[in-house]
């Protein structure tokens, strides 16, 4: 078992967003969190990432509460929130190097050895941003920025992806590319939790749906 949520409870202001929420996520599974605007999807993701304390209940990773794991738990997942988490004043490649250094993978900024340079530029190619490595994201379109933000998924070897509206601002080709990345990750035995207003093109028994209705 990978991630287990027991009796999770959340209030915002005086309103209960969700209570007694429970689910488990195994390796290779995808959890789609659904619900209308303001139903607490982002808040749930923040609790799963340990960004926000749960009002009640627990999030367990490998049968231990995530607070007990600390930095070790943060090594296990990649987070992509509403905001892209990229700096407009760094070129696309510099942004990727920063992601790598923070993720604790192989390092270099600006790239010291050819190996890390190659890997980041192949990531850019894969994301359809080839030739934009030395441009500033400030000149990118919203979709291109999102693609750059999604690159962190390819740079990391984390088992769990926590994604908030990953397809936001992506064009059709971008969404297709993201879905192929996602299914590859699931086939490798990774898991993912994501919110989405788009219909996800993946089908199968490994896809769970969680509907939040406030």
């Amino acid at each position: 078992m990978l991630l287990e949520v027991v009796g999770l409870h959340c209030t915002r202001g005086y309103r209960a967003l969700f209570s007694e929420l429970a689910f488990t996520l195994e390796a290779g599974q995808l959890l789609l969190v659904e619900g209308h605007n303001g139903s607490g999807k982002t808040t749930l993701l923040k609790m799963l990432a340990g960004l926000r304390e749960a009002d009640d209940g627990q999030v367990l990773w490998d049968k231990q509460p995530i607070q007990a794991w600390g930095a070790e738990y943060r090594q296990q997942f990649v987070w992509l929130g509403h905001s892209n988490g990229i700096k407009d004043d760094l070129t696309a490649l510099e942004n990727l190097h920063m992601m790598q250094a923070l993720g604790g993978e192989q390092a270099g900024f600006p790239c010291r050895d050819a190996k890390s340079c190659v890997s980041t530029s192949t990531v850019l190619e894969r994301m359809g941003l080839a030739g934009n490595g030395h441009r500033f994201p400030r000149h990118f379109s919203a979709g291109m920025k999102r693609r750059l933000a999604l690159s962190r998924l390819l740079l990391s070897s984390a088992r769990l992806w926590i994604l908030d509206e990953p397809q936001a601002a992506l064009d059709r080709a971008g969404i297709q590319m993201f879905e192929s990345m996602l299914s590859e990750h699931l086939q490798r035995g990774g898991s993912a939790i994501m919110t989405s207003h788009h219909e996800v093109g993946l089908r199968g028994p490994h896809i769970q749906r969680l509907v939040l209705a406030a």
Binding site: K46, A49, G50, L51, R52, E53, A71, E72, R74, Q75, W79, G81, H82, S83, N84, G85, I86, K87, D88, D89, L90, E94, H97, M98, M99, A101, L102, G103, G104, A107, F109, R152
Partner: protein, 225 residues
């Protein structure tokens, strides 16, 4: 090893961002020199008077410049989501925060340190007093950066937090102001200043060792909003 790499990478990143955004360097510097140069114009050019008020003015201006610059420390990172990524990264947050504050100090306070002797000359301070002024600024400005960062980390999720930040942070700046300007005063009178310098050094050690933990905790809280 991984941590040191993340530390240097973050330090370099903040440098690059600052140099591509040069107003982050020039604003505090310009503010510092304008404020210090306005005083002689407003008070009058009497050399004895200027010599007496110089230490206080230098330090108050440095303090306000530090406060002005501090607001930038986490603001853009908070807005573009890189702060969230930093908090969620497996790297130790106090260490990462130290890298950010260090970069901020190098960018915003070191130019000020370089300019201060020139301004001190214009107040008619002698060479010994200028040397001591430099030393106090060297010891004191990192304290301002680290302590200011605690306040910034607490208020970064609020809109228009400038006044609140000043209220939170300025009282904590007071010891640095007192010992800093007093040391220059004492030096100008030809008396030994090691006492004040040791106290400033002690404050620096305290700030460097304890503030990162407080900043990290405050950032975790701000990001969870």
């Amino acid at each position: 090893m991984q941590e040191t790499n993340a530390f240097t990478t973050l330090l370099k990143r903040d440098f690059m961002v600052a140099f591509r955004h040069r107003n982050e360097i020039f604003n505090p510097l310009l503010f510092f020199s304008l404020v210090t140069l306005l005083f002689p114009l407003g008070i009058g050019p009497s050399p004895t008077l200027l010599q007496t008020i110089a230490p206080g003015i230098l330090w108050v201006a440095a303090l306000l410049a530090a406060l002005l610059a501090a607001d930038n420390l986490f603001r853009t990172d908070y807005e573009d989501g890189t702060l969230e990524q930093l908090v969620l990264s497996p790297q130790p947050l106090p260490l990462m925060v130290t890298a950010k504050v260090l970069a901020h100090w190098l960018v915003s306070a070191v130019p000020l340190l370089l300019l201060a002797p020139v301004l001190a000359v214009s107040f008619g301070l002698d060479a010994h007093a200028i040397g001591v002024a430099e030393l106090t600024l060297l010891l004191g400005t990192p304290v301002l950066s680290f302590v200011g960062a605690i306040g910034v980390a607490l208020t970064v999720s609020l809109k228009r937090s400038g006044m609140l930040l000043a209220l939170l942070v300025l009282p904590l700046y007071v010891p640095v102001l007192i010992f800093g300007s007093n040391a220059i005063d004492t030096a100008a009178a030809g008396l030994p200043v090691s006492g004040q310098l040791y106290l400033l050094a002690a404050l620096l050690v305290l700030a460097v060792t304890l503030a990162p933990v407080a900043i990290a905790a405050a950032l975790r809280m701000s990001v969870s909003q």
